[in-house]
């Protein structure tokens, strides 16, 4: 076995510098690995690469000029993936497309393009899950706070969306897996590295709103159509921990006292029968 991999420092610039090195030396490394994550294997050589801003910028403008803005956005998306093979996938994609031109980005059956597309779409899908399932809770200082646990480092991808629609309220999205927090102060948003957070208590209204939402969530389901598999397919269970409507009914402190119309009729029908 004569395979070898490049090592880089884990930043986008570092990755692009490594790509630069591969093009310059006309080499085909198997993967580009973050130095800290390295688990050495006997059958593989490792070549460290240095992060060089100038090289990174040349790769960036190369991609923009040859492949276009969308391809560069895709590379940034793919870079946010958690998969250890991402460096190799991105490099093979660039090696395949850069010499063939922008049309090669649509060669979906070519392995290099296909693997890259898959990687991108998994990241985009994860980001979309966040747009769907992020739940904010209002803290006593007025900030809306949300904790998430995504499979890819998607906080940078979702901040624009929330900053636009919630531009009247300060909010924070804390990614517990990647230790990254997106902060928005009603003017602009930025990212903060944070492994631990100390939070103020919920605002006065918060628990009532959560109880209302939980009640609505339970009530809107139709008993006769129950389909847990379908529910889980659309809303995987790994997100449920951070969604307040998934708190089991016995653990809630506020519950409705009235019967629903459907229940009332069912009781009556049973009495008649």
């Amino acid at each position: 076995m004569t395979g070898f991999s490049y090592l880089y420092d884990g930043t986008l610039e570092g990755m692009l510098s490594a790509v630069f090195v591969a093009f310059q030396r006309k080499e085909y490394p198997e993967n580009i690995i973050v130095e800290q994550d390295l688990q050495e294997s006997l059958f593989c050589g490792y070549i460290p690469t240095l992060t060089n801003l100038e090289h990174a910028e040349r790769v960036q403008s190369g991609i923009l000029n040859t492949l276009g803005v969308r391809a560069y956005d895709d590379v940034k998306h793919a870079f946010l993936s958690d998969e250890p093979s991402k460096g190799g996938v991105i490099l093979r994609y660039l090696q395949y497309t850069m010499k063939r031109g922008s049309r090669a980005c649509t060669h979906l059956a070519a392995p290099a393009v296909h693997d890259f597309e898959e990687l991108c779409s998994r990241v985009s899908k994860e980001a979309h899950y966040m747009l769907q399932f992020v739940r904010f809770a209002q803290l006593s200082n007025g900030v809306f706070f949300s904790q998430i646990a995504p499979k890819a480092n998607v906080v940078p991808l979702i901040m624009d969306h929330f900053a636009a629609r919630f531009n009247i309220q300060p909010f924070m999205i804390y990614d517990a897996v990647h230790g990254l927090t997106g902060v928005f102060d009603t003017e602009r948003w930025w990212l903060v590295d944070a492994r631990e957070l100390q939070l103020p208590a919920h605002s006065l209204q918060e628990d009532e709103f959560q109880a209302l939402w939980q009640t609505f969530f339970d009530t809107i389901a139709i008993e006769e159509r129950k389909n847990p598999t379908c529910q889980r397919n659309f809303m995987p269970k790994r997100f449920w921990n951070n969604m307040c409507e998934q708190v089991p009914p016995q653990l809630r402190n506020l519950r409705p006292k009235t019967k629903t119309p459907t229940q009332a009729i069912q009781v009556k029908n049973r009495l008649l029968a």
Binding site: T106, H107, L108, A109, A110, H114, Q132, F133, R135, F136, A137, Q138, F144, S146, F162, A164, R165, F166, N167, I168, Q169, Q205, E208, F209, A211, L212, W213, T215, F216, F217, D218, T219, I220, A221, I222, E224, R225, K226, N227, P228, T229, C230, Q231, N233, F234, M235, M243, E245, R255, P256, K257, T258, K259, T260, P261, T262, A264, I265, K268, L272
Partner: protein, 428 residues
């Protein structure tokens, strides 16, 4: 009554309404105002029945002066009743929206006093949302049959989507089961909304923003399946004509769930979920796959085959047009291959410019080979071990369904019709 109790009652009363979509209109965010809408819509949760929750779907009130036989909220039912105040409901919507629970509000209502009064009350809620809270999220409102034109206009400029439920696939059933909604009480306002959208859109004096102000996300409707004797043939032809003549965005189907006991209604305890599913598949073929309703169903076989989806059924009945050579046939034909969806058809179009596609490549492009393999060739050859034999294909495609049926597992989740399925005979 506490808000929590009101919400329970009024969400329960609204849950039989199917439509819960937040799509069809793109409204960008604006500094200082809450909310935006995206044209694809966003689902924020999925309830235990697997249906998407994207809007806060409630009735303004479940007090109703009508007495429709199938409805939970009919006047004659002895159930808990509640009514939101306009401010209460507006604040609830905003509170939910700010926590990213919902995309907006779906507002329907029982008929309070008369249709006009009800619509006025609904307008009041939405007016508070739009003009006081400057809410830019999605709002879907039900138009109450019998509302005056002036009020429809007032409601139409406040909301994104409006809908009127056609309820039953034929006038006869409607007269029998919902006498107060019969006649042109539903069709007339539908036409009025369509004309309003058109007129507004074509009015060159208005700015482009204002031109799309009247019901920008269009209108939709829904009908109950399985409570009345109409066939799939009637249902699909009705929805095709609704798409054609009223330019509806969606026609929803709702499998009938018996709530009230009434001699006019069927007493089956089985919910026709599979039938509903097949109708939606047929609906998709009409909206996204360029199928005409006459290609999906005909008068001699008025029910869709429960064992096989309508696209496979069509392909088997037109087996002379197959096998399709994936590397050559035009886009329209790709769309007609079972197992190939809109996205995979587009991906095939792109990928085959570079190279002749093989079966392995198709799998990568997300083609469902389980179905597609019987209907395609790649570079002139069939997939390994596949024989081109229409009767054999039907048996293979329905193998699993037949097994389940044989074991009697089809009850409940995949309930069958009462009558024997009538399948269009395979013409070879």
């Amino acid at each position: 009554m506490e808000l929590l109790d009101k919400l329970t009652i009024l969400a329960d009363a609204a849950k039989y309404d199917v439509a819960c979509t937040s799509c069809g209109v793109d409204r960008k965010a604006q500094k200082g105002q809450l909310g935006e809408t995206t044209s694809a819509g966003i689902c924020h949760a999925f309830s235990a029945d697997g249906r998407c929750i994207t809007l806060l779907k409630v009735l303004l009130s479940n007090v109703c002066s009508y007495d429709c036989a199938y409805c939970v909220n009919r006047r004659g039912n002895d159930i808990p009743r509640a009514t939101f105040t306009a401010r209460e409901l507006a604040e609830l919507t905003i509170g939910f929206y700010r926590r990213n629970y919902i995309e907006g509000l779906f507002l329907s209502s029982g008929v309070l006093r008369n249709p006009d009064y009800t619509t006025e009350q609904m307008c009041e809620v939405i007016h508070i949302l739009r003009d006081e809270y400057h809410f830019r999220g999605y709002i879907h409102a039900k138009a109450v049959p019998g509302t005056s034109d002036e009020l429809l206009v007032r409601l139409g400029v406040l909301v994104d989507r409006m809908s009127l439920n056609i309820e039953f696939p034929s006038e006869k059933s409607l007269k029998l089961l919902a006498p107060q909604k019969a006649g042109d009480a539903i069709i007339k306002p539908m036409g009025f909304i369509r004309d309003g959208i058109k007129a507004n859109y074509q009015d060159k004096r208005l700015s482009t923003v204002r031109r799309t102000r009247f019901v920008p996300a269009g209108q939709s409707t829904q009908m109950i399946v399985g409570a009345s004797p109409e066939s799939d043939y009637q249902i699909l032809n009705l929805s095709a004509s609704l798409y054609r003549s009223f330019e509806l965005r969606r026609v929803f189907f709702s499998a009938y769930i018996p709530v009230n006991s009434n001699p006019l209604l069927p007493t089956t305890s089985e919910v026709p979920l599979l039938r509903e599913h097949r109708l939606y598949q047929a609906d998709w073929l009409m909206r996204f796959y360029q199928f005409d309703v006459s290609e999906i169903i005909d008068e001699e076989h008025p029910f869709l085959d429960p064992l096989i989806d309508p696209k496979c059924n069509w392909a088997l009945n037109h087996i002379d047009q197959f096998p399709a050579e994936v590397n050559r046939v035009p886009y329209e034909m790709l769309l007609r291959i079972p197992g190939v969806g809109v996205r995979s058809a587009k991906r095939i179009m792109l990928a085959r410019r570079e190279r002749a596609l093989r079966f392995e490549d198709l799998k990568k492009l997300n083609v469902t080979m389980k179905r597609a393999q019987y209907f395609i060739t790649c570079n002139g050859s069939y997939a390994q071990g596949v024989l081109f034999d229409p009767v054999g294909i039907y048996d293979k495609l329905t193998h699993n369904a037949q097994q389940r049926r044989f074991k009697g597992v089809l009850e409940g989740q995949l309930g069958l019709f009462e009558q024997e399925p009538q399948r269009a005979l395979v013409r070879v």
